[in-house]
Subunit: 345 residues, 2 copies
């Protein structure tokens, strides 16, 4: 299969699928794509995934590689509070038949997640070359300028909230995670987020980046860190503790959020991001807010949400306090440099 | 040099250079870039350049590779009649010191052309990997939706105009060409362009694509094809004629334009795209239009234009006429499949 026939076949599929060309006045096939104007601000992000760095082509299904290439970019849009609009995809394919098979399978992984998050496929480029597989995606979205979630907005006293649970993503979640797009849009509508960032390089590293950007310190409640069950998938000989995995593994693609104490208390009391399944645990909490996130997703055309918990994991502090931790015994001291991420500081 | 320090150094340079952050509400360094809203339609294009396909890393200066990666994308924006706004750049770097040196030199080639064409650097990504050099750029710009140049607008009877001269770009112009951004914007303001496309794969192949998209045929006046002086740089033993080079070489990054006969006659009489130097040749033609393109470029902040000629190279025909050529003797017949591009049909 050559590039021209691969592209022709893909263009044919796109033409038959209006859910992948929403907002495109001109789709792939001209010199460039033309998108309908928006009154909102444009948000642009790009992420590059390459063999032996972000995946192992001999171990990961190409469908999952394609899915991940889209998902990591959507996670960045979510971290800005932006609604996804479109993406362009460039792929470097190993020469020969294998490259063509990889391309087709990667597309099979890309299209469903693009559809699920209402993201059009606006264009792309492919090169067959005497090298390894790599894929570069640029995603576009929109947000009212003053409502964008930046890394710079955290203030001393704000609570640190995190979506979902952390650690062990290398086993499978790095490929299968659901970018927190509906959650971000729901929280944006509530107007409670002062700063946000997605976790790609590990909670500690990314939280420290957010704190540096906001010129604040923080104190982390170690006993409140939500640890994902996937950390149990490490072999028993694994040296790091579950907590260390949650703090340092990365590729969680959960959101770190800075929220005022009052707003945080409100969110946690409602747990608006805990629809259906989770909400059933407590009849008292089967709140209208919980229902409202489920219906928000339905209204916006997103997939029905899974039970996403928001967890309060600490507080932002004045800059001069530095980075602190409070351990299970309630003792607060400077943040310990766990093995596995200390080179980041 | 690791990625973090390279990026930090680049961000420092960008912060000091407002001409590279025009229109950015939030530039590189957050989860994504945030751009100020536009009332116009967004135009998005992406092009991937890779070692051994689009350049040879051992022969081309990395500054020129960086420049080309930006320029080919700006050429696509020009082909849409769009004003460039910003670009994001992803680079795959060979591991080790060499990759870091390549990255720094490529940036040196990128920044001047971004500045010249008033394009902000909105973000990017770099991966060091056990592979070859590749660079993916996504550029975006704006155009009033109904004024975009599409491939679909050519009508039977329209003249085929081309900017500049063709052939021999492999010697140097593939790296040094000036994307026809100011020319495209100037012509867009005149409202005369019915269809356009840039020449990346050769005049014949790209013209046939434009004709297919517009569902028309065409007749090419072979004796009017503007042949670039660079074709003389081929060795004497070279088998293809200068005309064949002009028709098939590709990477000219000139514009093919469909213009009504009246508008074409008007443009050619004025030669509005022939400022200063060229205009001096004929005192009669030192027209206000010629001056107006020069002052257009000055007003818009683009570099002073070189002498760009528009040439009438034929006409679009009803679809059923197919693709024809008129040779030097005035004889018209079906377009000959020259060696070098016949595999395209």
């Amino acid at each position: 299969m050559n590039e021209e026939s691969f592209v022709a076949s893909l263009l044919g599929r796109l033409r038959d699928d209006p859910s992948l060309s929403r907002g495109l006045l001109v789709g792939p096939g001209d010199d460039a794509a033309l998108l309908q104007p928006s009154r909102e601000s444009l948000v642009v992000t790009t992420d590059l995934l390459s063999d032996e760095v972000d995946f192992l082509v001999d171990r990961a299904a190409p469908e999952l590689i394609g899915r991940k290439a889209i998902a990591v970019n959507l996670s960045d849009l979510a971290a800005m509070g932006a609604r996804p609009a479109a993406a362009v995809v460039s792929v470097l394919l190993p020469r020969g038949r294998r490259g063509g098979v990889l391309a087709e399978k990667m597309v099979e992984g890309m299209l469903p997640i693009l559809r699920a998050y209402r993201t059009s496929l606006a264009g792309g480029d492919t090169n067959s070359w005497p090298g390894k597989l790599a894929v570069s995606v640029t995603a576009f979205g929109y947000v009212p300028a003053k409502k964008a979630f930046l890394r710079t907005g955290a203030r001393p006293g704000d609570r640190i909230l995190v979506t979902g649970a952390l650690g062990g993503s290398i086993h499978r979640r790095q490929f299968t995670f659901c970018p927190r797009v509906p959650e971000a849009l729901f929280l944006r509508e509530r107007g409670v987020v002062r700063a946000a960032m997605d976790i790609s390089d590990g909670l500690l590293l990314d939280l420290s980046r957010l704190a540096n950007a906001s010129n604040v310190g923080f104190r982390l409640d170690l006993e409140n860190i939500p640890i994902h069950g996937d950390v149990d998938l490490f072999p028993p000989a694994e040296k790091r503790s579950p907590l260390e995995h949650a703090l340092g593994d990365g590729e969680d693609f959960e959101l770190i959020l800075a929220v005022s104490p009052d707003d945080a208390a409100g969110l946690l009391a409602e747990q608006p991001l805990v629809p259906k399944k989770e909400a059933k645990r407590s009849t008292a909490k089967k709140s209208s807010a919980a229902k409202s996130f489920t219906s928000f997703c339905a209204d916006q055309g997103f997939p029905p949400p899974e039970g996403v918990l928001l967890t309060d994991i600490g507080e932002f502090l004045p800059r001069e306090k530095g980075f602190l931790q409070t351990d299970q015994a309630g003792k607060t001291r400077p943040l310990k440099k766990f093995s596995g991420w200390e080179h980041y500081f």
